[in-house]
């Protein structure tokens, strides 16, 4: 059992490099042997060279900073609004019932379709992208917090109630720690969404940021640069996700999503 557990823990560290090497192999095979055109699929080496060139270009960091700012600002605002909104709706069932139709409507609207509107309202600058990132990130946080506030274990509530715990103590020792895993679950989805929001926002308007760089590369038919920028974006998304994940591991080390499998 013990060796099996250890094996399961090690497995991703082995399987991931293997899968990476495999995809690189298939990629090279497609370019070299099958002869897919350079334009459709540039060779790994060409992409690496583009990426190298991109990274030593001082201009790139400006774009990275812009996109990062949009993502983080949008995410931060969404986190604040989502946690407050979720907590309020969770506490006031009548309010939740009242706003539920609006919430559902807002959820099913493809929010990316609204981006041109935001560009009209907030201009081609950074603001419209922050708004998009924020709106995309807001809903997963709101809904998770709402669920979290609602799903505080009744048995745990009995414990606090039986002890005559004050409102504040009940929040501090029960409701907050019980809701935190839901907040983090929402945050993990939200950070990915806000990256998407910022990039799509940049696609549609403006002249800065990594999304803008994607569009420029496309217009120049420079597919190896396009690949390189996409790689950068992927890296940024992963770094942000794992940052949230790291904070989660630090804040709720006791939770199942951190400890992995249930024991016993």
């Amino acid at each position: 059992m013990d060796t099996r557990d250890r094996f399961m823990k090690l497995l991703p560290w082995i399987s991931t490099p293997v899968m990476l090497a495999l995809s690189l192999g298939v990629w090279t095979f497609l370019v070299r042997v099958v002869g897919v055109s350079e334009f459709i699929l540039p060779a790994p080496r060409a992409v690496a060279e583009s990426l190298g060139a991109l990274l030593i270009d001082p201009e790139i960091w400006g774009h990275v900073r812009i996109t990062l700012t949009e993502v983080l600002a949008g995410f931060a605002i969404a986190l604040l609004l989502g946690v407050v909104g979720g907590a309020v709706l969770g506490r006031l069932p009548w309010l939740e019932v009242a706003v539920r139709p609006a919430l559902v409507a807002a959820q099913v609207i493809p929010k990316v379709a609204l981006i041109p509107l935001f560009v009209i309202w907030f201009g081609f600058g950074i603001t419209s992208k922050v708004v998009v990132a924020c709106i995309l990130a807001f809903f997963p946080i709101l809904l998770n917090v709402l669920l979290g506030v609602r799903s505080v274990d009744r048995g745990y509530r009995d414990v606090m109630r039986g002890l005559g715990a004050s409102r504040w103590a009940t929040f501090r020792d029960l409701e907050l720690p019980s809701t935190l895993p839901h907040v983090f679950a929402g945050m993990e989805v939200a950070i990915v969404f806000s990256v998407i929001g910022a990039i799509v926002g940049e696609y549609l308007g403006g002249n800065e940021g990594l999304g803008y760089l994607v569009v420029v590369s496309l217009n120049a038919l420079d597919s190896s640069k396009l690949f390189a920028v996409i790689l950068l974006l992927a890296t940024m998304g992963s770094v942000l996700f794992f940052a949230i994940n790291g904070v989660k591991r630090f804040v709720i080390p006791w939770h199942e999503s951190v400890t992995g499998r249930d024991i016993g």
Partner: protein, 295 residues
Amino acid sequence: MESQRLLDSQEQASAADPRDARVEARNDDSAGAAARPELELLAVDKTFQTRQGSTEALSDINLSVDRGEFISLLGRSGCGKTTLLRILAGLIAPTEGEVRVGDRSLWHGANRDSEALSKFGLVFQDPNLFPWFSIEDNIALPLKLRGVAKKARRARAEELCDLLGLSGFERSYPRELSGGMRQRAAIARALSYDPRILLMDEPFGALDAMTRDKMNLELQSISITTGATVVFVTHSITEAVFLADRVVLLSPRPGRIRSVVPVTFERPRALESESDSSFQEVVRTLRHELDEEGV
């Protein structure tokens, strides 16, 4: 009667309260000073409002529990014994009637008397340990709520871990413990502030028979050493008889007290005594009563 022989001096002095005549009917042979009962239910009714209308869960419950007494509440599932315990604990308010703790009323309107409340230690069927706290922090939670300093809390938690065989697990999270150990931690939490009254709702219901026997022995020794009053809900006749000074039998729909059976074997009781004929006699009586009420 065989069990009559076993009536001993440990028999608690019963309160000569006319309202408890029904409860005390089988217990009226002990004389002595009429000390104030530790815990009293006076004409308690509980009606739940459901979508189908109202359901009467408890009807006309009168019960008085003396200081240091061990009461088992026995009955089939759905007979309202958990509801009764929750009313005793102040988790829900009775629809009619009064709950008294010592000389205080538990409810003042919609508020609970905090002094009365502070005498209770609660143990539920589920351990209900908070997964975000270590065992130590779980056990010391009631002390934290009372503003006891961290160092003193830790010392007390350690002491209780020793008492309940949890030493070495102070820093573990609840999920790392077995079911029996978790329930022991829950009991430790209830004991942390030396409550005068322990209210336990089928605390060992989810444990296997062997662990359960062991926990029953431990509970007995806890109740003897702490001198706490215990109200213990169970649907196991053997468990009820083994632990109790009096077994209160509830019958369902609506929940009423059907009878109160005194159990007067000397303490501490050994597990082997469960096979004694006098013990079996009490069990038989109770089983007979339970069978009589039908399904």
